[in-house]
Amino acid sequence: MSACEVAAVVDAALGASLATGDPVALEPYRLDGVAPRALVRPQTPEHVARMLALAAERGWAVVPWGRGHGQGCGDVPRRYDVALSLRRLDAIPDLDADNLTVTAEAGISLGELTQRLGERHLVLPLALGDGERTLGGLIAANRAGCKRLLYGDPRDLLLGLRVALPNGALVRYGRKVIKNVAGYDMPKLYLGSQGLLGVVVEATFKVQPLPDREGVLIAGFSGGPDAARAAQALFRSALGPACLMLLLGRAVQSLRRYPGLDVPEGRAVLVVAFDGRSAAVQRQMADAGRVLLAQSATGVAELPALAAETAAMLEDAAHGLHPEQPRVVLRLGVLPTQVADAMAQAVGTMNVPGTSFGAVGDYSAGRIDLLLTGEPHIGWERLDGRIHELRRAMGERGGSVVLAAAPRSLKAKVGVWGDLQGAGRIMQRIKAQLDPRQVLSPGRFLPDPAEG
Amino acid sequence: MTAIDLLLPAEPKAPGTSHLAQAWRNATSHCIKCGFCLPVCPTYSVLGVEAASPRGRLDLMDAVAQGRLALGTVAGRVGQCLGCLACETACPAGIRYGQMFEALQCDMGTQRRGWRRWRARLLLDGVLARPRVLRAVVLALRVYQRSGLQRLLRSSGLLRLLGLAGREGRLPPLPRPLAWRAEVEFGAPPGTDATTTGGAQRAALFTGCVMDAAFGAVHAATAHVLAANGVQCALPAGQRCCGALHAHAGETASARRLARANIAAFETVGDAPVVLNSAGCGAFMKRYGTLLADDPAWAPRAAALAARVRDVSEFLAVRTLVPPTRAVALRVAYDDPCHLVHAQGISREPRDLLRAIPGLTLVELPESTWCCGSAGSYSLQHPELAGDVLARKMRHLAAARVDVVATGNPGCLLQLALGISRQGLDVDVRHPIELLAQAYP
């Protein structure tokens, strides 16, 4: 069936003109070089559900799309027939300021959502930086915000979901209440599911009133270990920082380039942020400043707030880089106390002539984004050995290494996800039950038992 | 799916005439299974088994009361209960565990037959209820422990014959009996017009069985403290063992006989408060009213006596203590007797007495409200379990690094002394009133 025929079948089944097979329109939806046969842009949740039912019937593979920001994080698709763009689903059906909840459709950009909430003096404290990302993408990738220490992770704020299941059913799990233990906590299952178990069309989150005051400290250190020690001192204290971010390499340089930022000396930087009551923030800033200096900071700069640009980089080291630009992003997960060592080890292992690195570590989340840019003399695909080595080293301490972005050649050799062990097997079993026909993103995340 | 017999038959009734069925019917509320009593129950802590928890035992006893289980089925698990009543203190629903437990023991007592019953009665009626015999036995036991006789008998098989094999080794070292009466002067018996307000205050001392035979020093100390506080203390003749052990063993008739004797004895001193220094006796005598409730002739008299019963710490707490003057420079841990803290709700008063002593440092013992494992004859019947419970107590005691552990019940005094000698700790065991007496020159 040709691209145009697929589009026609979809339009007929959905009873609206939502699909296209135009190669130009399909181009931005390539994944690792593979183009879909049709792009479908549903206008309602029901369209999404019907699309999935149709795909199940026809045996098509569907990949849901937001704005494509996290799309690089996935194995080379095994099959790819329909790119399902959710961008038209961008309404906010319910913003309940009294109840402190918001229900928004999956395709809404976080920037738009933030603005609409801001008008009511509210904030969804996830993904504070990159406004281009969509809500659906945030759920699929389970992205933590840079102020997770204060506000929590998506799992702490997500209350409910509306999902189109792979069999075409449109279901709703959870409610706009902050406590609910009726049946399984299905929304949690969709966090980090990479769009594999259904297409999230709408989500309900807990929101917060905007804080009275923010405050940011930027401290310079001669190296990563010093910065990590300072982060640890603050992490252990009852001072309550909202954000503890370590920066190394090009990440420090990028930070220095932002206008109005007076970044102290040193090869490593620690960004500490506070949100809250004015008097408390004042005290937190003063106390934390002292702790930082006592932990051998070269200097500490104060800022009134975290600019969106800065936050965006803290949340994703690759922020601002074009997808086409050759790069590799490794995402390491370790314990907080392992952050400094893991960072050093990752930088050491991946130190390849021809590339330069930048690293951003969320201390409390134990997350390290290592960004390599340039063109290694040996070619990207020859980094496989180093990645295996890093995975082995991290695996030994219970950590993980995900290839969040990489050229196809490298992905094909080492795989994006690493060994997920027993947990991976459980995910696979759930995938097999919820999507037995492998409609959604086959091959992109979990090995497909039927086809693999 | 199989049809299963589930979910709550409307609360079943407990017909029948057993003590347990009656107790079940008399109970104002029934266990809601919240489990709040689990963490305070020593046997549950040691065994980790629901049937050895208060909630489990109540469920088993309810089932027996309702004819769903046979008495023999539950006897083992319920029999492991220390009767410490920590569960009652913890219960938010006010479940009277003790009443069900006692009723069950009565039923078990009536079921006990032949040789075992005879042996129980020999101990209870032949010894405990007869002060002179008891004193003789205590004396004999001391001689026995001190002389080589212990070793001799152990090898002779005689103990096995008496059902004491493996048990007598668990007897604590006994203190020297004291001819305490000779050392104490008692005031004239208070007249019938006696009041406790204004002028000289009056009280009557209950001497009990074991206390009287083995802990005369405590009585002497009690009398001394009372005198130092201007209280005239009478010692009515004709008083007997309080009967608690008889009741716990299901020998209700004996218990009631003893109760009547005590009531009559203390009626001779008018309405003076009846002061005791044995928590177990106090807890039981405060319930004489219930014990004789169905005896029209005695019920009001029993209730009247019960209302006069005061633990010595309780008696002193409502008075302004004459400040003791002599320093007693000791680190002292207070361990709550179950029958004081759980059965009578008295925990602050004895501590206050100790705090009043100049130079004395009171140390809070973790889990001080936990049973030490003595629980009457319990340690004889369940040596391993009692040993585990006692060992836990000793761990806390060792960590507290004190000179003295104070507790106000004969069983506990003996049990703690046993634990201390087993662990080789260097700690004295004293009744709080003894320490206070020391502080009054």
Binding site: D156, M186, R283, L335, R367 | C34, G35, F36, A51, A93
Partner: protein
């Protein structure tokens, strides 16, 4: 030979004779939990000492196709631990070791049998200044494993979240005996939040054998206040007002007039008779700016016609306030043969309306009701005293329960905020979720426990006849369940 006769010797070989309970009296008491339900006789109860023993038991059970029930302290009030049909009970009283406490990573690792309160005492004794926050009413006795199974809530969920928010990773024995680790100390992990899925699954997806949890630094200051209001709706509106002002209290607990009267008889707080509702408000955090925040709270309460606002002046006063809240359930229980404790949530701003609805529903049936609520969470706990011997009253309470749940669902809320579904609310789950939604959950169940051996016949409406409450409804009046 009966299944018991076959299994017991094998279990004894695996675990040792003292770790297998099979005598009648020992089995008998595993038929209940803290709910009003009583289940069937169990095959046996095992007391494993470690994960490997649990796995062996589960494998043996799998070979003989025997269901397993993992049990904590049996304090659940939805019947989740009540056996339905032949089953092996796994009792965790011997798996109660705290394996690691790492303040530098803000985590602790332990076995499921650790009692919530014991963990807190342990953390406090270590002196790191860290604690584990979730504090269900049963914390003195309930185990962490049970808290995880039911995603227990508590008084401090408003600011700190429920159990799920504090559980980082789990070791689980799956129905086939495979031992799997999900989640872990690092918050960064690829793939679905399986830990979040397993927490609150009431033992129906596997047997948790080890728990990695978050511990947090103790707050610098804690201030506890009591605010009295003329009625529930004034108090509830004050709650919304406080939250809307950007203040996130650690706790916001509501007691209605009848509850105050009952409680005051036991824990003397001095709730005055003219007050219609009380709020216990707790603020915590840094000392700086606390005064201003307290003033702000007072202003908001006053704007909602508060009669009186008192701040606890001593630890003893604070403790008395909290005791008055924690004792509520037991106090209510001591006034009637049974108390039917309900649990449901509504959007916070609808709390007053919901409580009014509860009272109306109960009044219409001649039932008494007292109300408690975790007001900040919109979590109601109506308590209905019931005499189960009075069949008509028990039936009325069952009906009222169903109607209250339906009301909350209609208000956009949930049939359970923190107690779970168990056997009590299997039919009510159908009020919230339709057949497609339940099928999605059941797909998850099939994925992890294809033969339905983990705590069977729980959570899901029986007979698949969703929404038909007449079929197999658990009831207070002696209804038999299919």
């Amino acid at each position: 030979m009966s299944k018991r006769q076959i299994l017991v010797p094998q279990l004894q070989r695996l675990l040792g004779a003292d770790a297998v309970l099979h005598a009648e009296a020992d089995r008998f008491v595993y038929a209940y939990d803290a709910s009003v339900f009583r289940g069937t006789d169990v095959l046996a109860v095992v007391l494993p000492a470690n994960t490997e023993q649990v796995a062996q038991v589960v494998r043996l059970a799998a070979r003989h196709d025997v269901p397993i029930i993992a049990r904590g302290a049996g304090t659940g009030i939805n019947g989740g631990a009540v056996p339905r049909g032949d089953a092996l009970v796994i009792e965790f009283s011997r798996m109660n070791r705290i394996l690691a406490v790492e303040p530098d990573n803000r985590l602790a690792v332990m076995e499921p049998g650790v009692v919530n309160q014991d963990l807190k005492a342990h953390l406090s004794a270590l002196g790191y200044g860290f604690t584990y926050v979730p504090d269900p009413g049963s914390q003195v006795v309930s185990t962490i494993g049970g808290n995880v199974g039911n995603n227990a809530g508590g008084m401090h969920c408003l600011k700190y979240g429920v159990t799920a928010n504090h559980i980082l990773g789990l070791q689980v024995v799956l129905a086939d005996g495979e031992v799997v680790e999900v989640g872990g100390g690092s918050a960064t992990r690829p793939g679905m939040d399986l830990t979040g899925l397993l927490v609150g699954s009431e033992g129906t997806l596997g047997v948790v054998t080890r728990i990695t949890m978050r511990i947090l630094p103790l707050p610098e200051t804690v201030v506890t206040q009591l605010a009295l209001f003329p009625d529930v709706s004034a108090a509830a509106n004050a709650v919304s007002g406080i939250m809307a002002a950007g203040i996130l209290p650690a706790a916001l607990e509501l007691l209605d007039r009848r509850m105050m009267a009952l409680v005051d008889r036991f824990v003397h707080v001095g709730y005055p008779e003219h007050a219609g509702a009380a709020l216990i408000i707790e603020l915590d955090g840094l000392a700086d700016g606390m005064d201003r925040e307290l003033r702000r709270v007072a202003e908001i309460c006053n704007a909602h016609a508060a009669l009186e606002i008192k701040t606890a002046q001593s630890a003893a006063e604070t403790e008395r306030l909290w005791l008055s809240r924690r004792a509520a359930y037991g106090v209510a229980a001591s006034f009637s043969p049974t108390v039917y404790v309900m649990d449901c949530t509504v959007p916070r701003n609808l709390l007053a309306q919901a409580i009014a609805g509860v009272i109306e529903i109960c009044d219409a049936r001649g039932l008494e009701v007292v109300n408690l609520a975790h007001a900040g969470d919109g979590n109601l706990h109506p308590l209905i005293p019931v005499d189960r011997a009075n069949a008509a009253q028990a039936a009325a309470a069952t009906e009222a329960h169903h109607e209250i749940m339906a009301m909350c669902v209609a208000m956009g809320g949930s049939i359970t905020g923190e107690h779970g579904v168990g056997v009590e609310k299997q039919q009510e789950l159908g009020l919230m979720y339709d057949a497609d939604e339940l099928a999605g959950m059941q797909a998850v169940k099939r994925a992890l426990d294809p033969d339905g051996r983990c705590n069977p016949h729980k959570i899901f409406p029986l007979r698949g006849n969703v929404g038909d409450i007449a079929v197999g409804a658990a009831s207070l009046d002696g209804g038999r369940l299919p």
